[in-house]
């Protein structure tokens, strides 16, 4: 399978391990990610705060380039913010004539044009779960992540592309849960899985950011997670690099590595850690990785919430039948 690839600024450096691991598993899964030529920054959450038409335009240049460079291939963005900005801009241009017309006039100035709807934007997770599929993943699993307790963390921007149809539930996504289960890991039911990591608040109002991070870390810890699995460079950076700050600020001693789901897939595929960018994380994953056992666990993978089943019947959930 061939895809267009929009790396986004942080992939180059900060989130290198995301990129490395992504490419490593792509090889195993026979996926081809063709990087977009001369892509530019998506503006993150900053540009919209200053000027919206330029913000949309900034993003649309990428869409315009994509529509030139690819022939119908899906455009994949591994970064949540990039994904949302690309998808949202395409959506908004389609919905709001005025914006579409302004943006295209601006693009003209650079000899470009974009017809909303021509590029279909997808997040990496969506591609792995939907296009590749869990069966294909399971086939590749050589070293299951038995006994490794993972809190699946989606953050906000992937499950919630506002009013655009999302590939997963905006409130209670489960695609990464299922993915990690297929890798043999124990997925802890992580209530805050779709909560916010604070985004750029770390720069603007550290207290705010630290509190949000604390909640996430505490919750993950309460459920005995060995590590947090993430799909966004910003979330990774905040949870990882600021974990020390959180501990300092609240007198806690969380020590939970924050790892890209692609790294975990790679691990389960039996790819050596160093080829997956392990070691770049600030809170080391080593201790957690040592917990991985060769024995399939006795306990049911997906731990149900505490509480006896003796009393009144629980309402059935669709996926559980």
């Amino acid at each position: 399978m061939k895809f267009g690839y929009y790396p986004g600024c942080s992939i180059d450096r900060n989130a290198r391990s995301y990129h490395i691991s992504m490419m490593a598993i792509a090889e195993r899964l026979g996926l081809e990610f063709e990087e977009m030529e001369d892509w530019n920054c998506c503006g993150a959450t900053e540009y919209f705060a200053i000027n919206d038409i330029p913000a949309y335009t900034l993003v649309s240049r990428n869409l315009a380039l994509a529509s030139q460079q690819y022939s119908g291939e899906k455009l994949v963005a591994p970064c949540s913010a990039c994904f949302l900005n690309l998808k949202k801009t395409d959506h908004v241009m389609g919905e709001y004539k005025e914006i579409n017309q302004k943006v295209n006039t601006a693009l003209e100035a650079g000899g470009l044009a974009y017809q909303p709807g021509t590029v279909s934007v997808h997040h990496l997770l969506e591609v792995i779960v939907k296009d590749v599929g869990l069966e294909a993943i399971e086939e590749q699993v050589k070293k299951p992540l038995y006994e490794l307790r993972i809190a699946p963390y989606y953050g906000c921007m992937v499950p919630r592309p506002a009013d655009m149809e999302s590939f997963d539930d905006p409130e209670h996504p489960t695609s990464m849960d299922k993915l990690l289960e297929s890798l043999g890991a124990i997925v802890v039911d992580f209530p805050l899985k779709a909560q916010c990591c604070g985004g750029h608040m770390t720069q603007i109002s550290e207290e705010t950011a630290l509190e949000l991070l604390r909640r996430l870390l505490k919750n993950a810890d309460d459920y005995g997670a060995d590590m947090i699995s993430t799909l966004c460079p910003m979330c990774q950076l905040n949870l990882d690099a600021y974990q020390g700050a959180v501990n300092a600020h609240f007198g806690t001693d969380y020590n939970i590595p924050v790892i890209y789901f692609t790294q975990l897939i790679g691990l389960a595929f039996g790819i050596p850690e160093n080829e997956l960018g392990f070691g770049k994380e600030i809170v080391s994953a080593k201790p957690a990785l040592e917990k991985i056992s060769d024995e399939a666990p006795q306990e049911k993978k997906r731990r149900r919430r505490p509480g006896r089943r003796t009393g009144l019947p629980m309402p059935s959930m669709p996926e559980e039948g």
Binding site: E171, K218, M314
Partner: protein, 675 residues
């Protein structure tokens, strides 16, 4: 053809009346201008404007002009014909003209109310009026068609609406077929514990009525049955009902309940029990079920699944169990139909952030009704999912799935009141327990409703104005551990609050039945956007539908509480009773007819009619319309390749003339039309 020609030859004297409707029309349309302009039309004898044409004086204007000025046609430009066409047809008739020599121009709904542009509105009004004038000239006098009314009635749905209607009609000496999908009648009301605001026991007031239905000589009760087919038209519908096999021989069963007792299969009771309790595979929904004999649920019956067991059969003292029993098809005729199929409860699983199905101590309103009910699974004790722990704090969340564009935009109307009722019941059962009601707006319109709210205020319920954002078990701060945390903005304080509780009750809204659309199709009714059945008129015909002879009652038309539902059941019944009383009913003469001399017998039209009203005469080799069956849609008229079918009141000549009238300002020099 020939005589039609003559008609159009002799000049008609048209009277045109433009209504101000106060300022509703006159505020936007220059009524004066339209009146004077219309007067210039050669066909127009009189052109007047008046404050309120629908008033008696307005109608008298028409009557007098007909008598004094010898008008032969009438045009009224006012509101939608769906409002006042009847009114003015009657006025025309009182004036001495055939009521169908009248035409209406809708310059309010389609005109003055639809734009602010006075100039454009006036121009449009002229067109509509002109269209009406050009059309009415070609109108022909028509006579209404009498139909015999079969005195039997079909009622679909055995909830309180259906029960009420059935008893009303039956007591008046008419025969009723009451068809209920479930094994027993009673509907949602039978599931409830107390009823607001009076708090009288739901079962206590309902079961006597159920018994009456069961024993009534004039009521044929068909439970565990569904209507399969509906043919015919008002006065004479042909009904086919599927009586599903309940594997119990009704004549032999004594409703002793031994089979139920002996049945080894435990099943979660998703139906009557709202999923909170268990039942057997052969069961009666509840002890007072009517009829008393049980239903065998094949999906969960061990015998049907594994081929072994037959316990019920062994123990039945009267050999009333029959595993081989098959569905039965029943056919009968009725004159009228009442659809009272009720509602579905909104499924809160659709709102994941409320955790229903994930967080065990989140309950639906219906679950709670069963819980507080003394005959329910907990014997009326309010406990957590574990079946024993008493909650110290209970949250009641209003507007679940209602007033929300993501789910249902409308207000479900009853939730505020039953939420107050719940709060009261918690106070009553567990005086120590704190209750929090989370609401957007407190809606208590109804006799004694607001007073009930005050009563709850006195009972120290916490009322927090704010729509609950989420319910989670992820604790952030001390005091939240092991609790359900209700996160909300207390909009009266303008602060975000996290309130730890032990139990959450979701006041789920009312939804149209899942299969509402198919049912609407079956009875040829319309559904609105939300799936509720369309009434004929929102104000003046709330229980009639677009289809003559088909009526609706209760929550299938929209959210309602018990009193309203009962009122509608009664209303539908009395409308039907009056039809039965008349014995015959006059049907609109808007019908198709085939001119034999022009029909070539090509048979194109033969199977176009949804009511099979067209038959082919092998003798004469021409097609014919059976007038009584024809509903006047005009599909065949449009289809007839040799123009041999006339659609009364919608002839080509009439429509084409209206069309040319409408286009007066853009068309070339006026042309004559050929019919």
């Amino acid at each position: 053809m020939e005589e039609k020609k003559e008609k159009t030859m002799q000049k008609e004297k048209v009277g045109v009346y433009i209504c101000h409707c106060g300022t509703n029309i006159a505020g936007t349309i220059d009524v004066e201008e339209v009146k004077n302009w219309a007067a210039k039309n050669p066909n127009v004898e009189v052109s007047r404007d008046y404050e309120f044409m629908c008033s008696n004086t307005g109608q008298e204007l028409i009557e007098n002009d007909i008598k004094e000025k010898g008008l032969t046609r009438i045009v009224v430009a006012s509101c939608s014909p769906h409002m006042h066409e009847k009114t003015f047809r009657n006025a025309t008739e009182r004036g001495g003209l055939n009521p169908f020599l009248f035409e209406m121009a809708n310059i309010r709904e389609h005109g003055s109310w639809a734009t602010n542009d006075k100039e454009a509105a006036t121009q449009k009004a002229k067109s509509l009026v002109n269209g009406a004038i050009e059309r009415v000239v070609h109108h022909e006098p028509l006579e209404k068609i009498p139909v015999e009314i079969n005195p039997n009635t079909l009622i679909v749905g055995g909830g309180i609406a259906g029960i009420t209607a059935a008893l009303e009609l039956a007591n008046a000496g008419n025969h009723v077929y009451l068809v209920e999908r479930e094994g027993t009648i009673g509907g949602h009301m039978a599931q409830l514990d107390k009823t607001f605001p009076t708090l009288d026991c739901s079962a206590c007031i309902l079961t006597p009525k159920m018994v009456d239905v069961g024993q009534h000589d004039n009521i044929t009760l068909l439970t565990y049955s569904e209507v399969e087919k509906v043919d015919g038209y008002i006065g004479n519908f042909e009904i086919t009902v599927r009586k599903k096999a309940r594997c119990v021989i009704e004549d032999l069963c004594t409703a002793c309940g031994i089979c139920e007792e002996k049945c080894p299969a435990q099943v979660v009771d998703e139906g009557y029990g709202a999923g909170l309790g268990y039942r057997k595979a052969i069961y009666r929904a509840f002890p007072q079920a009517v009829p008393g004999y049980p239903v065998l649920d094949k999906e969960n019956c061990i015998y049907f699944q594994t081929g072994k067991c037959r316990a019920c059969e062994k123990f039945c003292p009267t050999d009333a169990i029959d595993f081989e029993q098959e569905d039965e098809m029943l056919n009968f005729n009725v004159g009228n139909i009442i659809v009272a199929t009720g509602y579905d409860l909104f499924d809160p699983r659709r709102i994941p952030q409320y955790g229903y199905g994930r967080l065990e101590n989140v309950f639906t309103s219906l679950e709670f009704e069963r819980m507080v009910n003394a005959s329910g699974p907990t014997g009326g004790h309010i406990v957590l999912r574990d079946g024993e722990t008493k909650p110290e704090k209970v949250a009641i969340v209003h507007c679940v799935g209602s007033r929300d564009q993501n789910y249902n935009e409308y207000c479900s109307k009853v939730c505020c009141m039953y939420s107050l009722k719940f709060a009261h019941l918690v106070h009553e059962h567990l005086p120590e327990t704190e209750v929090f009601n989370f609401y957007i707006d407190m809606r208590t319109p109804g006799k004694g409703y607001e007073e009930f709210y005050h009563r709850l205020l006195k009972e120290d319920t916490h009322f927090i104005r704010g729509r609950v954002a989420e319910i989670t078990d992820a604790d952030h701060q001390p005091g939240e551990e092991g609790k359900l945390i209700v996160q909300v903005e207390n909009t009266l304080l303008g602060k975000q609050q996290r309130i730890p509780v032990d139990m959450v009750i979701l006041s789920a809204g009312i939804e149209a039945r899942e299969d509402a659309a198919q049912v609407a199709n079956l009875f040829k009714m319309g559904c609105d956007y939300d799936g509720f059945y369309n009434e004929r008129h929102p104000k003046l015909a709330p229980v009639a539908t677009m289809t003559d002879g088909v009526f609706i009652a209760g929550a299938c038309q929209g959210p309602k509480d018990i009193p309203e539902t009962v009122a509608q059941g009664g209303a539908a019944a009395s409308q039907i009773a009056s039809l039965i009383g008349q014995g015959t009913m006059m049907m609109e003469p808007v019908r198709a007819s085939i001119r034999e001399e022009d029909c070539s017998g090509c048979r194109i039209c033969n199977n176009l009619c949804p009511y099979n009203a067209i038959e082919y005469d092998e003798e004469k080799e021409v097609s014919k319309v059976i007038t009584a069956l024809c509903q006047g849609c005009g599909t065949c008229v449009a289809a007839c390749p040799s123009g041999a079918i006339d659609g009364a009141h919608f002839t080509n000549l009439q429509v084409m003339s209206e069309l040319q009238g409408l286009l007066w300002d853009v068309q070339p020099a006026p042309e004559k039309v050929t019919a």
